[in-house]
Symmetry: D2
Subunit: 251 residues, 4 copies
């Protein structure tokens, strides 16, 4: 547990962390460790944080809202979707495999996408007014590639992406210890007491920046009641200045 002082600066803000590791046992997830760092910052600053380990749940494949109703297959997603809708901030965590985000992360995003045609109470797409980021760790490179994939998806369905909304850790090219390991191939790393990556300045700084920027944006949206509903409302964008009426033939 972090020993930092607790503030109420961001009271009323909620955040959801979804770990999309492909490991059955969440205790083995290295990504969780770095996610916990970001989560702890938020908790200590007054945010209500909840964590989900995706593989603890049975999530149906498909561009469906409710796999049980729509395809007759077991599906815990609807209850996870409720948590996503209740949170101001979403952080998706993923390992890197073959340079890309995990199958579980892909599935989680597909399921969120299935709801993307829905509207919020202002008639905007569902996820408008929320803000999102991501945490990546791996035994191979690809932090930025995974991040661009995840952050793109989030903004495409309605999330706002604050500056430097991604953080991650990888080691030098080639096989090696994963984030938080104290030994590798049966031998202690260094004195065996300092988990790899925990003191990486770059990773800690980016994780800090991500956490704070997500909180700042969430608070701004809270105050502003989301993003003003003009020009971005599915049913009446033609009633305001819009691209359909413009003749672009001038330069």
């Amino acid at each position: 547990m972090s020993k930092q002082r607790k503030t109420t600066r961001f009271a009323g803000i909620s955040a959801l962390f979804i770990n999309c590791s492909i490991k059955k046992n969440k205790k083995e997830s290295h990504t969780q460790l770095l996610m916990n760092k970001a989560a702890a910052i938020m908790t200590d600053e007054g945010v209500t944080v909840e964590k989900i380990y995706a593989l603890d749940h049975t999530i149906a494949f498909g561009m469906v809202k409710d796999g049980k109703k729509e395809a007759g297959i077991k599906d815990d997603w609807p209850k996870l979707q409720k948590k996503i809708m209740a949170a101001d901030i979403l952080v998706i965590g993923t390992p890197i495999w073959l340079g890309v985000k995990s199958s579980v992360a892909t599935q989680v995003i597909e399921r969120m996408y299935a709801y993307s045609g829905d509207r919020n109470e202002m008639g905007q797409y569902l996820y408008y007014g929320k803000t999102g980021g991501c945490i990546i760790t791996g035994n191979e490179d690809g932090i930025k590639h995974c991040a661009m994939d995840i952050l793109y998806a989030l903004q495409h369905i309605g999330y706002t992406v604050p500056p430097q909304a991604d953080a991650g850790w990888i080691g030098e090219a080639g096989p090696g210890p994963s984030y938080g390991d104290t030994e590798w191939q049966g031998k202690p790393i260094g004195d065996g007491k300092h988990p790899v990556g925990f003191d990486n300045e770059f990773t800690n700084r980016n994780t800090t920046f991500m956490a704070w920027n997500l909180m700042h944006l969430a608070k701004m949206f809270k105050k502003n009641k989301g993003i003003s509903a003009i020009g971005n409302v599915v049913d009446n964008w033609r009633q305001v200045t819009n691209a359909e009426n413009v003749n672009p033939e001038y330069r």
Copy 2:
């Protein structure tokens, strides 16, 4: 020229559109046409808009701020950088070639990156408090791929990416007319009077949403004086709740 009424809703906001087409002659750029749609919306809503055609300028290669000073090569970039710094909103336009953004777009982003270690007046990275989007057109597919690349880069160096900050147009798989063409392979398309893509509902809607969301965020940042400078300041992030002090070993 757009016939829409002009408002002052976003007076005081400025936007820069950089077209990264690889065509020497900007009059041949199809991407410019769609950029103009987005630009016209902003203009009509009171934003001060400036447009740059990157290839009208000599831009030096390299991770340098000023190619002339640092490498003795002709370089118009410093004056373009000033325009970027003066604008609240940045929209990068690119064609698609082999599924990715253009060499010119890559170069423009590299040059912006060269300044990314600099700070704004609050000690944050230089581009904090600005918001960015992109426009993509092509004769082959790749809108989303180009957008994820560009939007990732922008947020990584400090921009905030609002929801649905990308818009684009491509035709059906395979060779065919480009955005705004009225003929193809020497023959008129339809009645030869309706430029391809101009009435595509999806493209027009996305372009509209992008333009408005960029304006909404820019206005919010104007009011909020950027993003609060806590937890995201290079020189003192360790003075607030941060990832270095956290022990992540709990789940």
Copy 3:
């Protein structure tokens, strides 16, 4: 069934097609239709073709060879892996969702990756001597992006990628019919008798080229007994000319 004449040109060659659609019911998969075109070409030219619909099987998540043995979870993968190992050619099919390959495709590749440390009989990585391609269809753009992801993964674990080893179909930007549809939003398309995309010259040509190039390479490898095992054998690459012994300090 194709009415083309059957040759024995590629007798002795086998191909596996894995459809990674996220639809529960494989009869609804549009991607399958285009995969079938490629498969039919191979069948007609003497290749022994097998098709797998991934979601007909329970595939465990994880970087494991056998989920049942290693994690106590139901896992049909080992029998699918046997089919992969028995085939000279692998074609992975995927739909596009949010610009990237499906969760199922990601999972299939992860599971193949779990075996990638294994060796073939010549001491090379397991998949050496095989050749791979991909088929992509979607209601949104991203053919090239999905293809670069899949083809990269295949070559990284040992497959050879022949020229133009990807083919796909998408429509104009925006929502619309999927490959093979004859109606959209309840109305017939054209005369309602010509499935969308079936006569797209670009798609047909690329599908043809992909199928033939995979067969040509597979035949070449058959004749050559795979790729010569010099300089690419895990256990003895240091015994031949190699990068470790080179001083690269000259230009």
Copy 4:
């Protein structure tokens, strides 16, 4: 100069290495060092190797074959294109900036693409029968992402991509020395005599595998006179078994 024995195993094979660094001065390119390792292996095995540093040349932007003829701008590309056409093997080297390949690499590939409609003597697309790979180094992560982009482009225009055709080096997440550095931030690394990355087993192995696999494929193509010209010839693919004639409506 490497002290390894020279063989004639691959006599008659030629390779071209194009370094797409964005540094004006090629002596500062870290990527060149790793490219030199791969090049040395080929040289020592009898391949005729030529190296190009792209920024030593003035390359015009645009989807043009000859910028001077087509757009009246200075353009050295036509002579570089000749070298590409003369080589059996192409290796593209690039640094990583913001997780993607360099602007110069993007430009080089665009220019190669401009010729991709041309045909070889067998009526296939121009680059059929050649084989390609890539070398990536960086101060930030993205080896696989850059590689998937480059290798995809190469195979799309006609190159064959052998197994493990990419190699690279990056350090641990965050700023740090680049490949081949012996000091960082003014201080020697270790004893200051061992350039960073030179002894990385993973990088050396992958570089070795890439070099050998490119040579093996090139030799195979030499013997086979390229890829058989059936089913992949632009002007007569409809005369053989093809996707246009297939009814895919069976599963």
